[in-house]
């Protein structure tokens, strides 16, 4: 059963921080934050050098706002938010997308799974859960990414590029994202595998609107991710 809006999930840890990396999301961020702040008071929005009013809107909505002085990439923004959460006493860290694709109700389910299974990380999976409006081309791209990441990480996941995750602070402290761009998603999974963190997948819902679909990864972006991962591997 998914908790209704405003209802705090059972056994929630003392300090649960929700980290939301954002870049030019002023059209949707107010609604996203209203939904998240309704359940979780500690929301960290990391504005990744936006040129619109994302940071101002987030501040007015009541989020704790961090601003990169220039655009670095989602991976960098995520690590910044995680570092800030840890320094401010987080017990659990939730990563959540800024474009309105995720449902805040899924977070409680994931936290429950984390605590019942004594896991370090819970990874959201749209393919175990539900997708609304996922284009076929995007589905194929995601499936390709899943095959690649599973092959290179040794994990067996059903969704390797989902921004909805819950992790214990003790696990987050051991993870260090160095990929500033979208390759951070694969890098995170590689580190989970290398550090032998206990993880489970949870069914989540991902909603695709025309807005969020337009902001998603194109094929050229996928090639860029592959290059970043290849370069990271050879430069070790």
């Amino acid at each position: 059963m998914t908790p209704s809006e405003g209802e705090r999930p059972e056994k929630i840890s003392e300090r649960t921080f929700v980290v939301i990396p954002a870049f030019n999301e002023d059209r949707v961020i107010a609604d996203v934050l209203k939904e998240v702040l309704g359940v979780y008071p500690d929301v960290i929005l990391v504005d990744d050098g936006s040129t619109d009013r994302t940071a101002e809107i987030a501040f007015e909505a009541g989020a704790q706002v961090l601003r990169h002085p220039f655009n670095l990439g989602q991976g960098a923004a995520l690590q910044t938010g995680i570092d800030y959460a840890i320094r401010n006493g987080a017990s659990l860290i939730v990563t959540f997308d800024a474009d309105g694709q995720h449902e805040v109700g899924d977070v409680a389910t994931m936290i429950g799974l984390l605590e019942r299974n004594d896991a370090d990380v819970v990874l959201g999976s749209r393919f175990l859960g539900r997708t609304d409006g996922l284009a076929r081309s995007k589905r194929l791209l995601l499936k390709g990414a899943i095959l690649f990441t599973n092959a290179t990480s040794g994990l067996r996941l059903t969704d390797t590029h989902n921004g909805l995750r819950v992790m214990r602070a003790r696990a987050a402290r051991r993870i260090r994202l160095t990929q500033n761009g979208m390759a951070h998603a694969s890098e995170l999974l590689h580190q989970i595998a290398a550090l032998r963190l206990r993880f489970i997948e949870a069914p989540v819902t991902v909603r695709y609107s025309a807005y969020s679909a337009a902001k998603g990864q194109a094929v050229t972006g996928a090639l860029s991710i592959l290059y970043d991962l290849f370069y990271a591997r050879i430069s070790k």
Binding site: V46, T51, A55, E56, F59, E60, Q64, V65, L66, R67, H68, P69, F70, L72, A76, Q79, T80, D83, Y84, R87, T178, N180, Y231, S235
Partner: protein
């Protein structure tokens, strides 16, 4: 003779520039000195390049020099790329610390380099907070 003197002077200028940089790595200085020394020798004894080329089954000295130049250029490109990556990492860490520091001090970064305090944190503030 004019060309040889000019080219020799150019190589010596490169050598001086390299040593004037604040790079104290022995291998770097040795590499630059070796390449410049080899270059000066080949300038004054072009037949040496041809003999060296023949020794490795390459027809002409000019071809050998071209191949070596390509290899050297590739090495330099890779080195520059690696240095850029190191700088990118440093900039990321710096930007991260700025963002966290500003948030911790209740300030927010405004494009253009202006860092302002959030008004309600100021003792004499009143009214609705504005970041403009």
């Amino acid at each position: 003779m004019i060309a040889q003197v000019t080219l020799t002077a150019a190589l010596l200028a490169v050598l001086a520039y390299a040593f004037a940089q604040r790079i104290r790595l022995r291998w770097f200085r040795l590499s630059v000195a070796s390449i410049c020394a080899l270059g000066v020798v080949i300038i004054w004894d072009p037949a040496l390049a041809t003999r060296a080329a023949n020794a490795v089954n390459i027809g002409r000295g000019a071809d050998l020099i071209t191949y070596l130049w390509i290899a050297l250029s590739f090495a330099v490109t890779v080195n520059v790329h690696l240095r850029l990556k190191v700088n990118d990492d440093r900039m990321t860490r710096l930007a991260r610390e700025i963002a966290i520091l500003n948030a911790s001090r209740k300030r927010t970064f405004v494009p253009g380099g202006d860092s302002r305090a959030i008004p309600e944190m100021l003792p004499s503030s009143s009214g609705t907070a504005s970041l403009d």
